[in-house]
């Protein structure tokens, strides 16, 4: 169906192009302009790996800063769509909050108005096609460079070149049109015209997915006198509403928070559009008065359109900015997160989405969060595998009291738990990490590989716990007090280890984390040594038989694997939880040799 429709459109356009060279010129202008937008976005994306992400995180801690950030970056990049997509990615990855994201969208709406000024002020009054040619040449040369930054600059230059060229084509097309046909005969006055042209503006922007392209069309047509001023204003309002389609499409592959941001974008732009339509005549009056004051000629409708575009967007932000919190609450209420799953229900990843792979910072943040998610599920089943309730670990109860309380085996199906709550999440994390490794540069790979290893360690710890569970259940109900005592000893050590892990994850004090990370390594090593000695004594004194001894020997190794693999997970998550300051965090942690040295002194 889609293919047939596309073919029909192509045939229709071909027929139109044969009939009118001017329509061909205008359409080619739009196509070149859209290609320019694509190149420009691609160019800015190549810088998104570094500076843009840092600036985004740094400058969105206060709402007014988010608005400023949105306004400035959109003015520079001339693409509110790119800013929306970046914001959706960041918000889905949990790097910024919904309120900050909304602030950025507010700012982007203000920033996008600079486009109208540039097109009306420069695009139509200067022969910009002259500048387009060298930009295309230099841009293309740079695009072929292997250096990522040079390539990015190349895309930006070529993008600007194409934008200029597209505008020139559209302008020429409409100018030539003037001599053969008067499109103003299709103008509609009054409210009807306002609504019809707003709708046309929406549809045109949805199709082109660029409010800038629509604005250029409107301004060039208006400059050539092919549409009336009032209809042009309605088209501009429509383009403002239609531009939200990019955010909506972008949010389809994003997380819940990203969807909320796209919804906020739609709500904001539709409300702003409604305000502009309702008060269009007072707006026109204000534009007329202020245009005279700003030195814009009474007949300079393109500049007056730019002024109108700025006024209604600024008014929209001014009206809705104070209600950001209410908007956040409203969106939280209507777009609900999936209910927390019961322990036997199938669990899935929370943060991994396609949009998280857009930027290195979002990929990194999502990997950290999903690794913690996987750890949390694995922590649950490891404790249950030892016949202990997970809440016992987080309680303040003495370890001996926990052992007394849980002195009976508590069977749990670890295979079923793995199928439901570990396997898919683990698989998706590894897949996501591999995709990110292939997509981003060396620096990002250095962050991603250890996180992948942390997930492998979690899986190893689970496997060890699963192997240990069978004997654990068996010997906890044994009549041989010696073997029972040894298994309780394993449980005690693992409880201590898991408790310290929880403390590391929950503490905000760096010194506590640094101490505990080395402590869990030391405890794992010390226990391994002590267990071997104890086992030798038990065998020599015939307190346990050889079957028990073999089981105990194997399970001691499994317990050591659990402890050391989880220590590794904690280590990696502590060092890599933020991209900045890794070396400082790692500097004082004891390595394996240093820990070994401490055990030798004991």
């Amino acid at each position: 169906m889609k293919k047939v429709l596309l073919l029909l459109i192509m045939i229709g356009l071909s027929y139109t192009f044969i009939q009118s060279k001017n329509i061909l010129n205008i359409s080619a202008g739009v196509a070149i302009f859209l290609f320019g937008m694509f190149s420009l976005e691609e160019g800015f994306r190549s810088f998104a790996g570094g500076l843009l992400e840092k600036v985004l995180k740094k400058f969105t801690d206060k709402r007014y800063k988010s608005v400023l950030f949105g306004a400035i970056t959109t003015s520079i990049m001339q693409s509110s769509s790119l800013i929306s997509i970046i914001s959706i990615s960041f918000i889905s990855a949990g790097l910024i909050g919904l309120a900050q994201g909304i602030g950025i969208i507010f700012g982007a709406n203000i920033g996008t108005t600079t486009g109208a000024w540039l097109i009306a002020g420069l695009g139509l009054k200067v022969d910009i096609a002259t500048y387009a040619m060298p930009m295309l040449v230099f841009g293309t040369i740079l695009m072929f460079q292997s250096d990522k930054k040079a390539k990015g600059v190349g895309y930006i230059l070529a993008g600007l070149g194409f934008l200029f060229l597209g505008i020139a084509y559209m302008k020429d097309g409409f100018d030539a049109f003037k001599e053969t046909i008067d499109l103003t005969q299709f103008s509609i006055d009054g409210i009807k015209g306002l609504l019809v042209f707003t709708l046309i503006g929406i549809v045109a922007t949805v199709i082109m997915q660029s409010s800038h392209a629509t604005l250029v069309l409107i301004i060039t047509a208006l400059g050539a006198g092919q549409i009336t001023y009032e209809n042009a204003l309605a088209l501009a309002i429509g383009s403002n509403v239609g531009t939200t389609i990019t955010a909506v499409l972008g949010s389809l592959t994003a997380g819940l928070e990203g969807k909320k941001l796209a919804a906020a974008h739609v709500i904001f732009n539709v409300l702003t559009g409604l305000v502009a339509i309702t008060f269009i005549y007072p707006f026109i009056r204000i534009v007329d008065i202020s245009a005279a004051f700003l030195g814009v000629g009474a007949e300079d409708y393109t500049m007056k359109l730019a002024l109108f575009h700025t006024y209604f967007n600024v008014l929209g932000v001014s009206l809705l900015y104070p209600f950001t919190d209410q908007l956040v609450r409203f969106l939280d209420k209507i777009l609900l997160a999936k209910k927390a799953k019961g322990e036997n229900e199938r669990d899935d990843v929370y943060f991994i989405t396609d949009s998280a792979l857009d930027f290195p910072a979002t990929a990194h943040s999502v990997l950290i969060k999903e690794t913690k998610h996987l750890y949390s599920n694995t922590f649950d089943i490891i404790t249950k595998g030892m016949s202990i309730a997970p809440e016992d670990i987080t309680s303040g109860m003495e370890i001996d009291d926990i052992i007394k309380l849980r002195n009976q085996p508590l069977p749990v199906n670890m295979d079923e738990y793995y199928e439901n709550r570990i396997k898919d999440i683990y698989g998706k994390i590894i897949n996501f990490a591999i995709m990110a490794q292939g997509k981003f540069g060396e620096e990002t790979i250095r962050d991603i590989v250890p996180l992948k290893m942390a997930n492998i360690s979690i899986a190893e710890a689970f496997k060890a716990a699963k192997h240990m569970q069978k004997n654990m259940l068996f010997y906890l109900s044994s009549n041989n007090e010696h073997i029972k005592k040894e298994y309780n000893h394993i449980r005690k050590n693992l409880i201590k280890q898991l408790r310290n892990m929880q403390l590391i994850f929950n503490t905000t004090e760096e010194d506590v984390a640094v101490l505990l990370l080395s402590k869990i390594k030391l405890d794992a090593k010390k226990y391994d040594i002590a267990a071997s000695k104890s086992l030798d004594d038990l065998i020599r004194s015939n307190k346990i038989n050889y079957t028990m001894a073999t089981s105990l020997m194997n399970d001691t190794t499994y317990a050591y694997t659990i402890a050391s693999e989880l220590a590794e997970v904690a280590n990696i998550l502590f060092i890599h939880h933020e991209k900045e300051g890794k070396e400082e965090r790692e500097a004082l942690l004891l390595n394996d040799l240093e820990v070994q040295d401490l055990t030798n002194h004991n």
Partner: protein, 78 residues
């Protein structure tokens, strides 16, 4: 001013510049200071503690802290 210097200046101005060796040492120094305080705190706790396993755990922590503080000092002396 060259392009890279200009970017470095802008990054510094906005506080997004990558950390210099000096600021890294500053961060390590801060952490060493905290670890020293932690060691004093644990030594005090050890004096009060009578339970043998807990005393052992405290002794281990103190030994770790000693090693970490030494490691930190070595970095600062470099």
């Amino acid at each position: 001013m060259s392009g890279s210097k200009f970017i470095a200046k802008i990054e510094e101005l906005f506080g997004i510049a990558p950390q210099s060796e000096e600021s890294k040492k500053k961060a390590v120094k801060e952490l060493v200071k905290k670890l020293k305080l932690k060691r004093i705190e644990l030594k005090e706790a050890l004096k009060e503690e009578c339970d043998i396993p807990k005393r052992e755990a405290l002794k281990d922590s103190i030994k770790i802290l000693k090693k970490q503080i030494k490691k930190g000092k070595d970095i600062l002396d470099d």
